[in-house]
Amino acid sequence: MANTNKITTAQEAIARYLKPGTQVCTCGFSYTRRPFTLVREIIRQGIGNLYLTMNGGTACEEALAAAGLIKWVESTYLGLEGIQPVANSFRRGIQDGEIEIVEDYSNYGYASRTVAGKYGWPFAPLVSELGSDILEYDVFSKAGLRGRDANGNWIDPRIPPKKFHVIDDPFDGWGLRPHAFEDGDNTANQTNNLEGARRSTKYTGNPGVKVVLVPPVIPEVALLRAQKVGDEGTVRLEGIFGPDIEQAIAARILIVECEQIVPEEELRAAPERNHIPAHIVDAIVEQPFGGYPSAVPNYYDYDWDWFVNYGRVNRRSKEEVKAWWQEHVVSTTDDWEYLMHKVGMNRLFHLRATPGYGYKADLERPM
């Protein structure tokens, strides 16, 4: 979109771009740089039946599950990782059927799909998932949601016609490492059974090196948190990128929340350090501390205590967990109110990153 008038509020951005059932990609990864301002706004507005897609779902997605807003999910991991690992609302939603569909990928499979999405490719090649049940179960297909209808239109244009497609490498494994240099390859690979793999007849019925082609991820809307965004939309990320550069660029609509909107000139002084060009961004929301309780490298750490506490909250009944989110988020009018009154300035400032570390080096982490 043209590089003007993208600056808005979370309320307006969510109301404008999300409808019940929208396919939403929540960016960031695990405990880092999650778009919590936008996710909390979805919960406030109660936009439901969402089709979530992301490379690893953690606290953002657990929150949406607890609020009962997810219908379909396409992911690789649904949990809370290190501190209290079980995403109970998610697990319960899947088990009791409130979440209708879970389509499973591996992290690499999904990451390959985002690479294809970024580059505009029809697919990306994957040398993984072979032999596993990830390639055996295809939920969208069983649900009749893949492919074309009687009129030749996509049944659901958001869903690729196939989960994957295996071919025999037309280059016969020539490109794989270790590679057949005349005097060997100096990679760290200590094993090589390419010859064995060349004889494989699975999937294609013919002997050959198997390559799994995976379709791109093309989300309707992606929600991204960044440290700084230029006033025309140029995005620069600090710390690990997660899947964000790829999936944000692949999306049709990209909403970016950030610690600070800065003049484009600041970021454009070193364009090689920017990650998403301005024209890809549709809406910019400034909300300092809005990534809380996740970590935003160089700004603030994750709130260990929040996660420990939430690991207790989410063992309660469905209604109690939902009530907790109502009380903590839905009762607030916006994220400033949430951050100031439900979290508190003291706690937020306490989490600020230690210079030279990117996180709070002396954060206490009791269980």
Binding site: F29, Y31, I94, G97, D185, Q190, S200, Y359
Partner: protein, 297 residues
């Protein structure tokens, strides 16, 4: 990481925490057993928790040239504070590069740098194949025909499938219970060893590397037999009877060549406690077996 403290400082450190130099917890034992399996010069794909504890310990003892890879895109960090997530900013500290997951599995692993992977799982079968996805029918509600989803939904593959696919050697961390060691996993999240009615190997399914699996449970070390691909008891932990291992395993476990593990050394425990996890984030936890025993007792 910090410099190693003197023995006198270590004594004080232990006293402060009510620890003893020659005693160790199950978590400490597991971290040591894991570290001993990490080769030097390896590129080690370590998840958070015990895998990372073990890898960091190895790096500080027997595998100083081990490069830590964390799947969110981290290459070669110099960690000072134990990360609790594969994207924890603590894991990025002074990395050579940090980028993204396509790079971890592509630019690093597939390009040729993935010697050892370290994973956990809900189920591990006799070939070392792992299930970390689901128990009790896979299909979700929309297509299950029952109106509800699976009996128990776990987190899913994450990067486990990919690490298992690409690593030369795989270390698997497990709680040693019969139900967790079935003959066949219910859902095959991560293919590691042999498989299939005709004895197909991972190579028959198109994987081009790997095949060596070591399972580190809270009772022992199992190792895949290169001939038939089946996990056999290699090392029982100090005080663990091989028969107990066999009883807790869902297949007819070969315990005929079992050795006993040399206990953690003073030095291993010192490094683990004072440098790797001084906050005792993981070392202070009880193992699932211990928690279950507490609950039962």
């Amino acid at each position: 990481m910090a410099e190693l403290m003197t023995d006198a400082e270590y004594e004080l450190f232990l006293t402060d925490r009510g620890l003893k130099p020659e005693e160790y917890t199950t978590m400490e034992l597991l971290a040591v057993a894991t570290a001993r399996e990490v080769p030097d010069d390896s590129f080690a794909f370590a998840g958070t928790g015990l895998p990372l504890l073990g890898t960091m310990l190895a790096q500080k003892t027997t595998a100083p040239h081990c490069t830590i890879i964390m799947e969110a895109g981290i290459v070669g960090p110099k960690i000072e504070h134990l990360p609790i997530s594969v994207s924890d900013p603590r894991g990025c500290l002074r990395g050579s590069t940090v980028s993204n997951m396509a790079d971890t599995f592509g630019t690093t692993a597939l390009r040729g740098f993935c010697t050892v992977g370290i994973l956990g799982g809900a189920e591990c079968d006799q070939y070392g194949n792992l299930n970390s996805t689901v128990i009790g029918s896979y299909w979700p509600a929309r297509v299950s025909g029952t109106g509800h989803g699976p009996q128990v939904r776990f987190a899913g593959s994450g990067g486990a499938n990919n690490i298992a696919s690409l690593a030369d050697m795989l270390l698997v961390m497990m709680v040693h219970e019969k139900r967790r060691f079935p003959e066949r996993v219910e859902y095959l999240t991560s293919i590691t060893g042999l498989r299939g009615p005709k004895g197909e190997t991972r190579f028959d399914y198109g994987l081009t590397r790997g095949g060596k699996t070591v399972v580190i449970s809270d009772l022992c070390v199992l190792r895949s037999d290169p001939n038939d691909g089946i996990l056999k008891l290699d090392i029982a932990f100090p005080g663990i009877d091989p028969e107990l291992v066999k009883e807790n395993t869902g297949w007819d476990l070969d315990i005929s060549h079992a050795r006993t593990m040399a206990p953690p050394t003073y030095e291993e425990l010192k490094v683990l406690r004072t440098i790797v996890d001084p906050e005792r984030i993981y070392l202070g936890r009880k193992s699932k077996r211990e928690l279950a025993a507490e609950k039962a007792g």
